[in-house]
């Protein structure tokens, strides 16, 4: 790969005795949709946390757009174009759906030491926010309080907020967790529409979704990346089948 957008080199993170990230190295190309799969506790969320800067790695480096961001604080990484959605939905429950997204736009529209003008009548914030809501199909719910959204809608809002920051790269931690089949299908469609327009790192348990969407897949087990490759390679990898995919992988491979 010539110029990866994101390069992870020898990343290590320990929590006491647990090695949550164990010498993970990974390159992600611009425009790629890269999925990370692995059993619970494999270290997927921990890896994303280190990419966003919420968790400090013990060793290793993270490069984004060619610059070393390993020690950069979270908000600066976000401004640089690295956006995440949380595994546990983390929206502003007290605010409206539109306000949630407006905040995300505002975060990237210069400083917020602006004390007088009303946000509600600021088109430079409102228009991109509406656009992001349209992309995930939530525009009809713009004025609802975020607390009143269904689970699936909250996840869609999560994505809209990440999109509103006009990121170069989107980090999605189990966007379909806890969704019914219908909501999942909608999310797959949303992601498919985004694919190629920006680089996406997708952590997801829904194997059908992963194999349908991903350009490449990395399998994480006990903090180690045991395999990386395109979906066919991953399906065929015997170590992966043994360690993780099991019957479900056979089904995915055969069906």
């Amino acid at each position: 790969m010539a110029d990866p957008l994101l390069r992870i080199e020898g990343l290590v993170k320990r929590f006491g005795g647990i090695v949550a990230t164990d010498q993970v190295s990974l390159d992600i190309a611009p425009g790629e949709l890269h999925a990370i799969i692995g059993p619970n506790g494999a270290g997927k969320t921990t890896l994303i946390g280190q990419l966003t800067g919420e968790i400090r790695p013990d060793s290793g480096r993270i490069r984004f757009q060619g610059t070393d961001i390993t020690r950069r604080p979270t908000h600066r990484r976000s401004l640089q174009g690295l956006a995440r959605s949380f595994q546990i939905t983390s929206i502003f429950l007290d605010l409206t759906v539109a306000e949630n997204v407006v905040l995300a736009v505002q975060a990237h529209a210069g400083h917020s030491f602006r004390f007088w003008r009303r946000v509600a009548s600021d088109r430079r914030l409102q228009e991109p926010a509406r656009a992001a809501l349209r992309q995930v199909g939530l525009d009809a719910r713009a004025d609802a309080r975020a607390a009143n959204l269904s689970h699936g809608e909250r996840r869609q809002l999560e994505i809209a907020m990440a999109l509103a920051t006009e990121p170069t790269m989107l980090l999605l931690d189990e966007p379909m967790a806890g969704m019914g089949p219908e909501e999942s299908a909608r999310m797959v469609e949303t992601l498919r529409a985004l694919k190629g327009r920006l680089t996406i790192l997708l952590v997801e348990h829904d194997m059908d979704a992963v194999f349908a969407l991903a350009d490449r897949i990395t399998v994480l087990v006990y903090g180690r990346a045991i395999a990386t490759g395109d979906p066919d390679t991953i399906r065929a990898n015997p170590e992966v089948r043994r360690a993780y995919l099991g019957d479900q992988g056979t089904e995915a491979a055969d069906g």
Binding site: H75, F86, L93, D94, T96, R118, D122
Partner: protein
């Protein structure tokens, strides 16, 4: 509860009506031949300004400052100390009261805002106690006994604050100004950051906000407005003492904000008026008024979780459907 209600919501209409009545109060007082009313309500207006400033950080920013009365003391002492040195010009006293309050808020906020939750409450309280004892230690300015102010702030021939009615209207105008200022602030980009940070600070940082500096700015603005209320209080009482910034005063301010409706435009107005009116009426009935007052507050908090303001809005909702 967090959304700044439109200006035409029932609670804001009620607030507008109250403000009109307040504007007429000196006339009522004259008709009733009880000038004492003007004094009583002046005190309420000043506390309402202080509560309005606390509402900015507590109601909209989620910062439970348990030391907010400190700025009443600081603003008051600036006026008192300057007056004792013969500097009576309000144009000097009041801006300096605001500036010194800002300075204290900046330093204290910079330290306190690194903590959260109960720690934040405790550390703001600790700093307020420190400032309280600084006041006690000001021996040359009366120490524990306080300092009498012989001349109110002077604004030349423009305003004569010794005229109780003029002073009342100055306080009323500043209250309206403070309410409107906070109302606009919380709808601005700055205010969105404050409200977002109250709701989910972690997410705010994840989407790119260095929230600390915005919260600190809010903390300083609140300190400044409250410092101004302190300058008014010094003029009102013609006296300053450490008791102005006793922690019980800070607690009262919190109760006013909660009682009126946290994070609502008019909440501090309702809260301060209700708190001080009930306190006044009960204290005329019995000297043990606090025994009644406490449970009363608990009832309001239990049955009107959004404070008095939400009662107006609920009544409206019931009437509609």
């Amino acid at each position: 509860m967090m959304r700044p209600a439109s200006l035409s919501s029932p609670s804001n209409l009620a607030a507008a009506l109250i403000l009109v009545l307040l504007a007429l109060l000196p006339l009522f007082a004259e008709l009733l031949a009880s000038p004492f009313l003007v004094t009583l309500f002046t005190r309420m207006l000043i506390y309402a300004i202080a509560a309005t400033s606390l509402n900015l950080i507590l109601g909209y920013g989620g910062m439970v400052s348990f030391g907010h009365a400190m700025y009443i003391g600081i603003g008051g002492y600036v006026v008192g100390i300057m007056a004792s040195h013969g500097v009576h010009a309000g144009w000097l006293q009041w801006p300096l009261a605001i500036a010194i309050s800002a300075l204290f808020a900046l330093v204290i906020g910079a330290l306190c805002l690194r903590t959260r939750g109960v720690y934040f409450i405790m550390i703001t309280l600790a700093f307020a106690q420190m400032v309280y004892f600084m006041g006690v230690g000001l021996e040359e300015y009366g120490g524990d006994d306080g300092l009498t102010i012989y001349n109110r702030s002077s604004f030349g021939s423009l305003l004569n604050l010794s005229d109780k009615r003029v002073f009342y209207y100055v306080c009323l105008a500043l209250l309206v100004g403070a309410l409107y200022l906070v109302h606009r602030l919380v709808q601005s980009r700055f205010g969105m950051v404050l409200r977002g940070s109250k709701s989910n600070d972690r997410r705010m940082q994840a989407i790119g906000f260095p929230t600390y500096r915005y919260r600190l700015t809010g903390f300083v603005i609140a300190g400044m407005i409250c410092g101004l209320s302190g300058a008014l209080m010094a003029n009102h009482n013609e006296f300053v003492s450490p008791a102005m910034m006793h922690w019980v005063q800070s607690g009262d301010l919190i109760v006013m904000v909660v009682l009126g409706g946290m994070g609502t435009a008019a909440g501090p107005l309702f809260g301060a008026l209700a708190f001080l009116l009930v306190e006044y009426l009960l204290s005329r009935i019995t000297e043990y008024w606090q025994i009644i007052f406490g449970p009363l507050l608990i009832l309001v908090v239990l049955f009107a979780r959004g404070g008095i303001g939400s009662l107006f809005d609920m009544l409206e909702g019931r009437r509609r459907g």
